[in-house]
Amino acid sequence: MEARIVNKGQLPELLDKLAKDCDLIAPVKEETTTLFRKISGAKDAFLEYNNSDISPKGCFLPQNEKTFSYTYTGDSLEIVKPEGAKKTVLFGTRPCDIKAITTLDPVFEGVKFGDEYYSSKRENTVIIGLSCSKVLSTCFCYAFGGGPCDGTGSDLLFTEIGDKYYVEINTDKGKALVDTYSQIFSSQGADQLAKGKEELAQKLSGEFIRKVDLTGVKEVLDGNFELPYWDGDNYKKCIGCGTCTYVCPTCHCFDIFDYTTGDFTGDRIRCWDSCMYPEYTLMAGGHNPRPTRKERVRNRFMHKLKYHLDRYDMVGCVGCGRCVKKCPVNIDITKIINDLKEVAQNA
């Protein structure tokens, strides 16, 4: 694998150039919230973050997205699709969030049904990852085979070492970007920094506080839909606020509705939805297959720990810890995983 070096002092120059040449999306801080937004240059970026409050999944699956606009006059019906995505660079993505994107890929780029909106953005975006420099108390990416310096899924991975970034080139797309800005990416001394990255990865891997072990969890969920565990406290605590689903980088449920500006003129919008809401599965006529929080909480965790695996051979959680941190009633997926492991052991 090829690698380069970028002096930290040159990063603003790189970001300014990228913002000029394409859409540059990077972490920003708005009041107390860290999230990803299109920026106009290095001055807007906020890179001193550990884990953003809002994940960058919206770069590919925006919270609100127009899928087309329509005009119906009685005899003519016109449907106009938005243009495809522009060339974009997503800078500063943490390894867990990159993994989350690879978890969304099979949903939206499935063999049977793709998604032109998602794919267009995915194809036109270069993902530049940024290794973590710290492990938070809510982090548990290691439990799913990830790590604070794992660049899997990124085109380039930046790792901060002293006053430099060690840059790993993971794909041709990444290579093309490096070649375009070759005056900023130098190859001299990259080999020596490789060792520094190794050491950082090694050091951080020992800093996880949460012990999360998936052994036997999938097996205990297979064929055990009515597991008594789901009757326990978790659903009783849940207030159905949906926060977990909005901050989750792998949650992809959406709703589709029309935003009408005139009689038969308007936009078709898809927007994030949440399986934690009763309306999500409510059918005309009043029947609801998941009528209480018990079924909804079970479905969410079954989706993460079993259904996504059954369909795509990937766990639907990446260990970013956002739901653990943000849940107002402390429903904690790491506790659920460990409880289920215990259920498995006692079975």
């Binding site: 959406f254 898809r270 939805d273 999500y280």
Partner: protein
């Protein structure tokens, strides 16, 4: 070619509307783009997403068999916002359609077999596509006897009356059994519920598939009857309904366990359903 992965619908024009009951209408539509119509490629049992602009989308079964010609029929019950607006539309007006989605009845595996259809109320709609497929000039020889047992609350609630009383009985090797829960001046036929009538007609399970669609309560009471008659779980086919938004296995809401009804269904055998969580 239609692009089934797109969230954008194709415009269709309504060419005919039949009032089936006081709250059910059948819309015949053709795509404005003849190429889309030609290549739509729907199979019996599949569904479409209907766009009524300003109201969004609804999942509706294709009621017509592809063997009947280059058009689609949708039989729609007025239950909420979108279906209300659709019911106000007239011949010549347009709405949008995308699809076809979902799996289809196993009509290849059913070849050489007799077919026994059990329908309740307006749920005859999704199985009508297979009835007409098996009864088409083209494929009639591939299937044995076709029997249809259908019931609704009253005579006025029976859908597809011209099929039931004229078209289907006139075709060879068919039998139509109709029943209503409540009789009336306009009904001289049988009165009683569907499950009891199935027991009375007592189809033999020999070399046969049973295709059942109806309200949950009818299915609940019909299944034990089928079982008593000797039908195995693999011989009983039904269709499921869940709330849907994308029909592409992405929006998440129509799952039953690891299966998405919109892509892995809506057609399931009773054997398949027994292997799935009872969450529908």
């Amino acid at each position: 070619m239609p692009n089934p992965t797109a969230l954008t619908p194709y415009p269709v024009t309504i060419t005919k509307i039949v009032d089936e009951t006081s709250d059910v209408k059948t819309f015949t539509v053709v795509f404005d783009d003849p190429e889309i119509m030609e290549n739509f490629g729907n199979k019996p049992g599949q569904v479409c997403m209907l766009s009524v602009f300003g109201e969004g989308e609804s999942t509706i079964s294709i009621t017509s068999s592809p063997t009947r010609g280059k058009f689609l029929e949708f039989t729609v019950k007025r239950v909420g916002r979108l279906t209300e607006v659709l019911h106000q539309m007239e011949v010549g007006q347009k709405f949008g359609v995308r699809g076809p989605y979902g799996n289809w009845f196993p009509y290849e595996i059913m070849k050489g077999k007799d077919l026994f259809f059990v329908g309740g109320g307006f749920a005859l709609a999704p199985i009508r596509s297979l009835i007409d497929y098996a009864l088409s000039d083209q494929y009639r020889k591939d299937y044995g006897r076709v029997e249809i047992l259908y019931g609704s609350r009253s005579y006025d609630d029976l859908c597809f009356k011209s099929d039931l009383f004229e078209r289907w009985p006139s075709l060879s090797n068919t039998a139509i059994y109709t029943t209503v829960d409540r009789g009336g001046d306009n009904w001289k036929g049988r009165v009683g519920h569907v499950p009891g009538y199935v027991e009375e007609v007592a189809p033999s399970p020999e070399n046969k598939f049973a295709i059942i669609a109806g309200p949950p309560i009818m299915i609940k009471f019909a299944l034990p009857v089928m079982e008593k008659l000797g039908f195995k779980d693999e011989q009983i086919i039904t269709t499921l309904e869940m709330r849907m938004k994308c029909c592409l296995g992405k929006c998440g809401r129509c799952n039953i366990g690891s299966k998405f009804v919109c892509v892995d269904g809506p057609v399931f055998s009773r054997a398949q359903l027994k292997g799935m969580p009872q969450e529908y």
